[in-house]
Symmetry: C2
Subunit: 309 residues, 2 copies
Amino acid sequence: MFFEGSEKRVEVLVSPTTRSLRLLDEQFWSDVVACADAEVLSKMGNECCDAYLLSESCLFVWDDKFLMLTCGTTTLVDAVIFFVDKLGESAIASVSYQRKSEYLSHLQTSSFEEDLSRLRTKLSGSAYRVGHLDTHHHYIFTSDPQTQPLKVKSNSELLMYHIKGEVADYLRSDAQSCEGIRELLALEHLFPDFCFDDHLFTPFGYSINGLWEDKYMTIHITPQEQSSYVSIETNLHFELYPFNIFSALLNKLNPQSWDVIGFNRQVITDGFPPFVSVASCALPINNNETVQFNQYQQLNSELLQPELL
Amino acid sequence: MFFEGSEKRVEVLVSPTTRSLRLLDEQFWSDVVACADAEVLSKMGNECCDAYLLSESCLFVWDDKFLMLTCGTTTLVDAVIFFVDKLGESAIASVSYQRKSEYLSHLQTSSFEEDLSRLRTKLSGSAYRVGHLDTHHHYIFTSDPQTQPLKVKSNSELLMYHIKGEVADYLRSDAQSCEGIRELLALEHLFPDFCFDDHLFTPFGYSINGLWEDKYMTIHITPQEQSSYVSIETNLHFELYPFNIFSALLNKLNPQSWDVIGFNRQVITDGFPPFVSVASCALPINNNETVQFNQYQQLNSELLQPELL
C-alpha cells in the first residue's frame, strides 16, 4: 500500500529569444513526461498556460517556462536532461530543481546527489540542502542565471504530513469522488474563477490542477494511513485575499506536521492550527531571490500508534 | 566525512540449560563480530560481564545473554543468524533486534524489513515500527519467549541528534583525547565505581564501554557537523541517583532533538533542557514487557544553516 507522495520539482525558464514553449506539440510534452517515467492523463488550457494532469502529478507550460512535479519513483531529472538537450543549452535562462525528503528514500532510483551530478554536466549552478537528514529536508539546485530575469518568480508550497480526521478518513474511503473532494476542501471557494481538472487514482490518491489567467494551483493527495502526504502549490498571491488558503487546508486536513516553502514570498501563519515552529531558513539564491523554508508541527504531543510489521 | 552513527542493536538471552556464554572463547566472539563486518579493538571484564569495544560500537557478554550494538553500514543481522546457527534454536530464550532510523538509509546494505525476513526464518516473533517514516522512528523485533524469563530486562537509551556548543566543538577538534572527553562529560562522576575502556577514532568519533558489577554503560559519539549523533545506553537504575545522568549529558551536548527509549522503564525528564515533547508511545511486548518511546526537541525554533552541496 506504500506510495511515495513526496515530489521532485523542476521549473525551467527559457531565454527571451526562444519561441513559445506552447508551440511545442503534445507529442513533445508526452516525450518529456515519458522520460520521467510518467504519462499524460488529461490536459486543459487557457490563454496563458497549458496544464497537464499526469499519472504522477503535473506539468504546466507557459510561453516562457514550464513547471513539472512528479512523485513516486519517477525520474524527473531525465526529463530535464531531455528538455535541455532538445532545445539546446543556450535556450535555457534558468533551471530550479528540487527534491523533498522522501518517506522511503532507499526505494528511489537515484539520490539528489546523483541527480545533481547529471544536471551539472549540462548547467552550472548552486545546490543546497536545507533541513536535517533525520527529519524534513529539501534539496534545491538553481542554475546560474544567464540574464537578469524580467520578473522575479514567486510561488508558495505547503507540504502536509500525516493527515487525520474526517476529511482524511473520507480520502481513504471507497465513497470518495472528485466532486466530493472538491466540495470537502471547498476548492471553488478558495480558488474562485479557477478552471479545474482533477483525477482520482486507484485504490487511493487524488490530483487536481487549476488555472486562472497566468495563475496555477495544484494539489496532490497521498492519503495512505502510515505515510500520508498532501502538497499544494500556487503562484496566486493569496496574501491579498480575505482568507488564508493554506490555513483553510491545514484546518481541514489536520496534518501532524507541515512545511511551507515560499519563493520570494513569506507565507503568513494567520489561522494556522495551534503549532510549534520547529525550524526556519531564508536561503538567498542568485542575488535577487530568496527561498523561505518553515517547518511546523502540531502543538500537542502526539501519541504514536505502533505499526505491526 | 559522512558516517552513519545510528545503531542496530541486538540482545539475546539463552535458555537456563545453556552453558555460560562467557565460556565461549574469544575466537567465537571475534567470528560473531566479523559476521557483522566489524572487529574487536579491545576487551575488559569483571566477575559478571565481558565488554568488547568494537570498530563499530560494542559487545557485552554475560553468562546468560549478550548485547551487541553496531553502527555504520554493518550487518548485525548476519551476526545474529550466525549465533543462532552455532548454538541451535533450542538454546535461544529470547531475541530482541532493533534498528533506529538512519540519516542515509539508502546507503545501508539492508532494510529492517529485509533483516526481519531473515530473522523469521529462524525465530517466530512480533515486529513493530514506532514513529513516522519522515522523522525519528524505531524498528523492533522480539521473538516469542520460549519460557517466562526469571527477571524482566530493564535498560534505557538516550539518542541525541545535532549536538552543538563547546563540548560538541571539542569533539570535532584535533585537540581531543580520551581523557579530555571523559573529563568534559564527567563520566567518572556520573558513573562512580565503573571501570572504563574507551577509544578515539580517526578522524573523529569516540566509543566508551563501562562496567560495574552486572551493570553496563556504553556511549558512542559521531560528532560530524551535518549529521552528529550521540547515543548512551545503560542498565543502571540511575533514577535512584541524586542526579539524572541523561539530563547531565543533554545539558553538556546540547542536541537539537533527542529520543529516549526505556525497556520496562520510564525515564524522568527532571533537569532536561527546555523541550517540546514531540511524541510518545508505550509499546506492550510479550505480555510482561513494555517499551517506552519518547521524542523531544529543543523548545526554541531552530535557524537552519543551509548545506552547500
